[in-house]
């Protein structure tokens, strides 16, 4: 096993993890504010479809990325209105959103199935990209992977060290108290949900512009759901979300590589590997650090300022 091989495995790990990381960071913010949005899969799909269409029509990847994020956000407005303004059950609304998004993306994308675009090409950062092992994985990716790193850094800092982060958390922990202190609970939750929508849309754009530059129905293949679970096991912490996404990405690659080396393990078992490894490791971390999960206490509970 030479260095180039490990380079390539790590490169593939980061790439596989990117869509999960993007969705999961968005989920983390919206859940930290107390909103449970199970519509991630739907938003990823709508983002992927619109990103592809925009990139195909304009021939410009930048517009594709923007369209993806915007489309995800637009769909999440629907969720926010029903779940936050009309105070419908968040679980039911989220599930409906996934079904809606799956159908909508198939409908608008129907004419674009089978079209192909150039896709995002990797940008190597000079010097840094030639560092052994990690160079290729972190510094020879495409622009959206770099964007995901920046978003991770920004959100980690936001939740850890800023007043805004604290406000978002207080709204998710105890909206009544936050409201009494004069914070606009519903407005903050709206923003968090919209941000989550934009992140899911970005993840979709990554799938249809960079990972596999094409549109095909159901291209997300469950990644929205995996991200939702990842956030729970990562105890709503940005650094663990990143770690979990990489772990999942690595295990996904590993199961394919092991097959290529001729290990006669049932592919069904191997296919479970990413899920098993990620869950086990994150659960152990969850247990060891502070005993029990620290789910936002008002997660999924509607809040009305008039009550």
């Amino acid at each position: 096993m030479d260095i180039a091989f490990i380079d390539n495995v790590l490169f593939a790990t980061v790439r596989t993890a990117t869509p999960l990381l993007l969705v999961a960071l968005g989920v983390m913010i919206s859940e930290r504010s107390g909103v449970l949005n199970l519509g991630q899969e739907g938003m990823v799909l709508v983002g992927a479809a619109l990103a592809f269409i925009a990139a195909y029509v304009t021939g410009n990847m930048g517009w594709g990325i923007i369209a993806g994020a915007f489309a995800g956000m637009l769909v999440s407005v629907l969720f926010a209105f029903i779940a936050l303004s009309l105070m419908a059950n968040q679980v039911a609304t989220g599930l409906a959103l996934t079904i809606f998004g799956t159908g909508l993306s198939a409908f608008v994308g129907a004419d674009y199935v089978g079209q192909s675009i150039a896709g995002l090409s990797p940008i190597s950062i000079p010097l840094l990209s030639s560092i052994p092992f990690i160079g290729k994985a972190f510094f020879a990716q495409d622009i959206m992977v770099y964007l995901s790193f920046c978003l991770f850094g920004g959100l980690w800092w936001l939740m850890r060290a800023t007043r805004l982060g604290l406000i978002i958390r207080s709204v998710g922990e105890n909206p009544e108290a936050a409201h009494a202190l004069g914070y606009p609970v519903r407005k903050i939750r709206y923003c968090a949900v919209l941000f989550g929508g934009a992140m899911a849309g970005l993840a979709g754009a990554y799938l249809s512009l960079a990972y596999t530059p094409m549109w095909s129905e159901g291209i997300a293949a469950g990644r929205g759901w995996i991200a939702l679970a990842l956030v729970v096991f990562a105890s709503w912490r940005a650094n663990r979300v990143l770690f979990g996404a990489w772990l999942f990405g690595f295990a996904s690659i590993l199961h394919l590589l092991l097959q290529g080396y001729g290990y006669a393990i049932s592919p069904n078992l191997l296919a479970m590997l990413p899920y098993l490894v990620t869950i086990i490791v994150l659960v152990i971390m969850m247990q060891r650090k502070q005993g029990g999960s620290d789910a936002p206490r008002s997660l999924g509970r509607p809040f009305s300022p008039s009550r």
């Binding site: 596989t16 199935v113 089978g114 896709g119 590589l257 592919p267």
Partner: protein, 356 residues
């Protein structure tokens, strides 16, 4: 009020009478495993449906349900079609086999045709294409174009249909490159472009420089294109996804089989049969071969194709050895269809074991 209702009833009666007088078109339904799209397995079935639908004109009325997951839900879809008056229902994926058989028991007067399966009943027939013949030809091209002498194959599920294709590809490759080896990765899905792509990347990491797949999306072709390697497509011509990478594709053409089955139902002569057509019947072919492929190789492929069509050659003719170098098909013999339907071993040169 009463008058209006009377008039409605009369109008309805008139409609029924007219309906009975004119021969009703045969209602033909198709169940597809993935969205139709512009390439792939389902796309080729849809091509077949469109061709027969045009040919038969008023005699038949066709429609399809796409993206139906294999398993319990597909039985519901199949039964719904039967319940809503479809006379002939084509179920076009391996995993619909048991649901089709179950639905057929409930609707004994409806005719069912299942693609790529092996079970039949008094109102269920099956049909499939000899994809391995086209696979074999694609493998010949792949073997000739490999510089590392390693081919990579992305398979969906380890079922005989896929294993047959893998073996045929290998036997074809050995015709043009005796030293060729092949690695196989199973992705456990017919359609997850990202995972198919990742499998393709893993194969290239392990030295494969010509790839093939038995999954539904063209992601493998894209992966080869991005890495400057070659690939052969499946189901339909996938050259649009990798103008530099795409060597050829092993394709199906379903319309001849659909025509025959529909005609039989129209004539009232339908019986449960198992139809298995290949190159000779026009049910399989390969896409135009890439210009990088040397002329003598193209000529050799054409020659083998002509021999298969003429019946002078069979893909699985002896001597064929298995992985442990035991002779499985002796010289002068060829595998029977029954054996092909239960194919569960790899030919020599393929690495790894078939997962059980």
């Amino acid at each position: 009020m009463l008058l209006t209702r009377l008039r409605q009833t009369l109008a309805l009666l008139a409609l029924v009478a007219v309906g009975n007088a004119v021969a009703e078109p045969l209602k033909v339904g198709f169940v597809y495993v993935s969205p139709v799209g512009d390439a792939g397995w389902t796309y080729m079935h849809e091509q077949g449906r469109q061709i027969v639908s045009e040919e038969f004109g008023d005699q038949i009325e066709t429609s399809f349900v796409e993206g139906v997951a294999e398993g319990a839900d597909s039985e519901r879809v199949i039964r719904n079609l039967a319940k809503s008056g479809y006379d002939l229902i084509f179920t076009t994926s391996f995993g619909y086999m048991n649901p089709t058989i179950k639905a057929a028991k409930r609707f004994p007067r409806t005719t069912f045709e299942h693609a790529t399966g092996y079970k039949m009943a008094k109102n269920v027939g099956n049909y499939m294409t000899r994809d391995h013949e086209a696979r074999y030809l694609a493998g010949m091209v792949a073997g000739a174009m490999s510089k590392t002498d390693v081919l990579g194959f992305v398979g969906a599920f380890p079922i005989p249909e896929v294993i047959r294709g893998i073996n045929a590809y290998m036997l074809g490759a050995q015709q043009t490159n005796p030293d060729i080896k092949m690695k196989v990765i199973w992705v456990n899905t017919w359609h997850d472009p990202a995972r198919e792509r990742e499998a393709a990347e893993s194969l290239m990491l392990q030295g494969a420089d010509v790839l093939a797949m038995h999954t539904d999306s063209p992601a493998v072709i894209q992966a080869a294109e991005a890495n400057g390697k070659y690939a052969t497509g499946f189901n339909s011509d996938m050259s649009a996804y990798g103008p530099k990478a795409h060597l050829t594709s092993a394709m199906q053409h379903w319309h001849n089989m659909y025509r025959a089955k529909i005609q039989a139902v129209l004539d009232g002569s339908w019986k449960p049969t198992s139809v298995w057509h290949g190159l000779a019947e026009g049910a399989n072919d390969i896409a135009p071969i890439h210009k990088d492929v040397p002329e003598p190789i193209v000529a050799l492929v054409e020659q083998h194709k002509a021999q298969i069509i003429a019946g002078d050659r069979s893909v699985f003719q002896g001597p064929i050895y298995n992985q442990s170098n035991t002779i499985m098909v002796s010289d002068g013999q060829q595998m029977t269809d029954a054996e092909l339907l239960k194919f569960n071993w790899y030919v020599k040169g393929i690495e790894g074991k078939i997962p059980q």
